[in-house]
Amino acid sequence: MTVVYEDHGDEAAGAEVPMRRIKFSINGQKKIAEVEPRLLLAHLIRRGLGLTGTHMGCDTTNCGACTVLVDGQPAKSCTMLAVQADGHEISTVEGLAGAAELHPLQEGFREEHGLQCGFCTPGMMMAAKALLDENPDPTEEDVRWALSGNLCRCTGYQNIVKSVLWAADKLRAEG
C-alpha cells in the first residue's frame, strides 16, 4: 500500500500524525494495518479493508447498523477505535456465508422478507448471530431483546424477528 501526502513546501503546521501498527484478524484472515488512533473501527472496516457491508447510520451509537462481532461478541464498530482491534478477531457480514452457501441467518432474512432497503440488515444479522451462538433456541422475546440495540426504519421489525427464528430453527435442525 502506498500513502501519498501533499508537499506544502513549508513545515506543515502541527505535529506529525501519530500512527499505530495493529494486528488483527478479519473474517478469519490475519491483517496488519497502520492507522491513526482516532480512526473508528467502522472506518477501518469500510475504507481500509473495503468491506462496505458494515454501515453507518447515526452518530450517537443508537442505530446498530455498524454492528460487528469482536471475539464473538457484538460491538458497535462506530464506537470503537480501530486501534482497539489490535490482537482481536473481527467478524463482519461478509464473513457469514461459507464457500458455497449462505448462513442460515442470511437465508432466514430472505425467506421471511426480513429486509426492504437492506441498510440495517448486516447489523441485525450480526447481532442475531451473537444471540444464536449463545442461545440456539431463543423465544420471540429473547430475539426482540437481543436486537433492541438495532434500529430499522423500513420493516416494522416483525419479519426481522421471524427471520431470526427461522434461522434458529434451521441451525438446530442441522445439529
Binding site: Y5, E6, H8, A12, A13, G14, E36, R38, L39, R46, R47, G50, L51, T52, G53, T54, H55, M56, G57, C58, D59, T60, C63, A65, T92, V93, E94, L96, A97, L102, Q106, F109, R110, E111, H113, L115, Q116, C117, G118, F119, C120, T121, P122, M125, L151, C152, R153, C154
Partner: protein, 598 residues
C-alpha cells in the same frame, strides 16, 4: 409447447417471489452511495450554523486552508461570485446553498471543506472562524406573524413580513351564511408537529466532473434522479445531456431524499473546481437538523351542524410553518397541495379553506413522509374535526360519518375545495369495518369496562387518499406533468432488461416489475433484470415517493410489455405464415386460431 405457461410457475402476478434484491443485501454487497470510491476522490464536510438566526459579520477560513490535506474551502461569498449562493426551490422561492448575509435556521450550511479524508475535513471545519451577530429567533407561525417580528427573508425584494402566501379556496360568503344558520358549531384547534423521515442511511453525493469530456456524473441518494438532473442543469447552468445522475442502492427514502440539498450543489461545484471526484456524506446530526421535514401545520377548524347531525358547512384555516425557505412542492392545480382533498368523503354543501404559509427560523421542507402534498395533514385534520363534531353533538362516531358520506349514487362528486372523486361505496366500506371489529359488541364491552373503572377506546377514521401522483391532468411539479416511463428490451435468447423512471429505496421494484412483465409476456420473471436510477439509461420519470410507483411506473411497465407483445404478434404472424388476425395469444405463446372451433 402446446399449453399456456403457468403464470405462478414463472413468477407472474399472484406468484410469491423471493426478493431479487435481497441477494446482494444479505451478503453485505449492497451498493449504497457511501460504499462507492472513485479514483482520486476527496471528501467534503459541511460547517453548520449553531445559531438559528444571526447576521454573518465575517468568515475567516485562513486556519482551515493551512491544515495539511485541505484542498478547498467554500463559503457563500465564493458561491456568490459564481451565482450559486442561492438556488431555486420547487415552490418558486429561493434557498441558500451557503449562507451569505445571514443564517436563517440552526444547522444551516455556512461553509464546506474538501480534504483528503473526512477527518481532516472536519478538523478544518472546526478551524473556520465565523463571527455571528445573533438576531431574535422565530420558531412558530404565531411569532412569525407577531407585530415587530424580525423579517427572516430580508434577502427578498418585496418581502414585508414573514408571510409567504395567503391562499383560499371555496365559498367564503356561502360558508358564513351556513354558519349563521347552524344549530351547533364545533371548533377544533390542532398542531400537526414537525416530523423527520430519518431513514437509517443519511443523504450524500459523489460529484465527478470530467474536464476532458465536460461530463458531470453525480452518484446521489435521490428518490428522483431525473428531476435532480433537470435541477442541476438549471442551478449549475450545465447542459442537461452532459449530466448523469446515478442513484445507486438507497438505504431508505421516505421523502427525505427528494429535495436538492446544498451539500449536493457544493460537492458538484467543488468537483468542477478541483477536477476530482468529491464525496459528501451527511452525518446523522446534520441530517436531523437540516433535512426536508414533514408536516408542521396548524389548524383552526369549524363545522356548522344541524341538530340531527347533518354537516352544513366546513371552515378550515391552516398555518403552515415552512422554515426559512419555501421548498415544499405542490401541483399547480392545487395551491394548497392535497389539503384540497379534505372532506372529500363527505357531502358538504359549502366550505371555505384558507391557508397561510410563513417563514420561521427552522429548516426548510414540508414535502416528506409519503411525500404527501399535504394529504396526511388533510386527512388528520378532517377526521379529528369529525370526531370533535360527533362528540359535540353527542352522536355515535360511526352514525355521524355514515349520515354525511357521499352517497353511492352521487358520484362523480366534486368537493367544495375542487377535488373530484369518481366512484365509491363509502357506507358499505364502513359497514365492513364495523362488522370486522364487532362494533356493537365492543360498545357493550366498553360500557361494562367503564363501570369497572377500565377505559377502553375505539377510534374510527375515514380517508380518501390520492395515491400515485398522479394523473397528469391534475398533477405536476413545476409544470412537469407527473407521468412515468418504462423501457423494455428483449434479447435474442428471450432474456430481458427493463428500466423505469422510478427509483426503489426498498420497495422491491427489481422483484415486482419483473412479475408484471412475466404476466404480460410469459417470460419467467427471473429472466427479466430490472434497473433504475441511472439517468443515462433509465427513461424519464418523476421518481418514487407518495406511493406513486406501481400505479404510474408499474402501469408503464404493463403498457410497454404490451407494445412488445404487439410487435411480437406481427413477427409471429410472419413466422407462422398467417395474417395477424389469425393469431391468438395465451400466456407465453402465439398460436394460429383454429378454423374449426365451434
Amino acid at each position: 409447447m402446446s399449453q399456456a405457461v403457468d403464470e405462478i410457475k414463472i413468477g407472474g402476478l399472484g406468484a410469491s417471489r423471493k426478493r431479487v434484491e435481497d441477494s446482494r443485501f444479505i451478503r453485505g454487497k449492497g451498493n449504497y452511495t457511501d460504499d462507492i470510491t472513485l479514483p482520486g476522490m476527496l471528501h467534503m464536510e459541511i460547517l453548520r450554523s449553531p445559531l438559528a438566526h444571526a447576521r454573518i459579520k465575517s468568515i475567516d477560513a485562513s486556519k482551515a486552508w493551512d491544515i495539511p490535506g485541505v484542498h478547498l474551502v467554500l463559503t457563500g461569498e465564493m458561491m456568490a461570485t459564481r451565482n450559486l449562493a442561492w438556488m431555486p426551490t420547487l415552490s418558486y422561492d429561493t434557498q441558500a446553498v451557503l449562507a451569505t448575509d445571514k443564517v436563517r435556521f440552526q444547522g444551516q450550511e455556512v461553509a464546506c471543506v474538501i480534504a483528503d479524508d473526512p477527518y481532516i475535513a472536519k478538523d478544518a471545519c472546526e478551524a473556520i472562524d465565523v463571527d455571528y451577530e445573533p438576531l431574535p429567533v422565530i420558531v412558530n407561525p404565531e411569532q412569525a406573524m407577531a407585530d415587530g417580528a424580525p423579517v427572516i427573508r430580508d434577502d427578498k425584494e418585496n418581502q414585508a413580513g414573514n408571510v409567504i402566501y395567503d391562499w383560499e379556496v371555496g365559498d367564503g360568503a356561502g360558508t358564513d351564511a351556513a354558519f349563521a344558520a347552524a344549530d351547533v358549531i364545533s371548533k377544533l384547534r390542532l398542531h400537526y408537529p414537525r416530523s423527520h423521515p430519518s431513514p437509517i442511511e443519511c443523504c450524500g453525493s459523489i460529484a465527478d466532473f470530467n474536464r476532458a469530456t465536460e461530463k458531470l456524473t453525480v452518484y446521489m441518494t435521490t428518490q428522483a434522479p431525473h428531476i435532480i438532473r433537470a435541477a442541476v442543469a438549471l442551478v449549475a447552468e450545465l447542459p442537461e445531456h452532459m449530466i448523469r445522475i446515478i442513484s445507486p442502492d438507497i438505504g431508505g427514502g421516505f421523502g427525505n431524499k427528494v429535495p436538492v440539498y446544498p451539500g449536493y450543489v457544493c460537492s458538484i461545484l467543488a468537483s468542477i473546481l478541483l477536477e476530482r471526484p468529491v464525496k459528501w456524506i451527511e452525518d446523522k446530526s446534520g441530517n436531523l437538523i437540516s433535512t426536508g421535514f414533514a408536516r408542521d401545520v396548524y389548524l383552526d377548524g369549524e363545522m356548522a351542524l344541524r341538530q340531527d347531525g347533518k354537516i352544513l358547512a366546513v371552515r378550515m384555516h391552516t398555518d403552515a410553518d415552512h422554515g426559512a425557505f419555501f421548498s415544499d412542492a405542490q401541483p399547480s392545480k392545487f395551491k394548497i397541495g392535497l389539503m384540497h382533498s379534505a372532506f372529500a368523503a363527505y357531502d358538504i354543501p359549502v366550505a371555505h379553506l384558507t391557508a397561510r404559509g410563513v417563514y420561521t427560523n427552522k429548516a426548510p421542507g414540508g414535502v416528506a413522509y409519503r411525500c404527501s402534498f399535504r394529504v396526511t395533514e388533510a386527512m388528520f385534520f378532517q377526521e379529528r374535526m369529525m370526531q370533535a363534531a360527533a362528540d359535540d353533538l353527542g352522536m355515535d362516531q360511526a352514525a355521524f360519518r355514515r349520515m354525511n358520506f357521499v352517497r353511492d349514487e352521487d358520484f362523480p362528486h366534486r368537493t367544495p375545495f375542487g377535488f373530484l372523486t369518481d366512484s365509491g361505496q363509502y357506507a358499505k366500506c364502513l359497514d365492513v369495518g364495523l362488522k370486522a371489529v364487532g362494533y356493537a359488541d365492543f360498545r357493550k364491552q366498553q360500557e361494562e369496562a367503564r363501570a369497572r373503572g377500565r377505559l377502553l377506546g375505539l377510534g374510527i377514521s375515514t380517508m380518501t387518499e390520492p395515491l400515485g401522483a398522479g394523473n397528469s391532468r391534475e398533477y405536476d411539479i413545476l409544470g412537469i406533468k407527473m407521468f412515468d416511463s418504462a423501457d423494455l428490451k428483449v434479447h435474442m435468447t428471450g432474456k430481458a432488461i427493463l428500466r423505469t423512471g422510478a427509483k426503489t429505496q426498498g420497495q422491491g421494484h427489481e422483484t415486482t416489475w419483473a412479475q408484471i412483465v412475466a404476466h404480460e409476456l410469459g417470460i419467467p420473471a427471473e429472466d427479466v433484470v430490472v434497473e433504475e436510477g441511472d439517468t443515462d439509461t433509465a427513461p424519464f420519470g418523476m421518481g418514487t415517493y407518495a406511493s406513486r410507483s406501481t400505479p404510474v411506473a408499474g402501469a408503464a411497465v404493463a403498457m410497454v410489455s404490451r407494445k412488445i407483445r404487439a410487435k411480437a404478434r406481427r413477427l409471429a404472424a410472419h413466422l407462422l405464415e398467417v395474417s395477424e388476425e389469425d393469431i391468438e395469444w395465451e400466456l407465453g405463446r402465439f398460436y394460429v386460431r383454429s378454423r374449426t372451433a365451434g
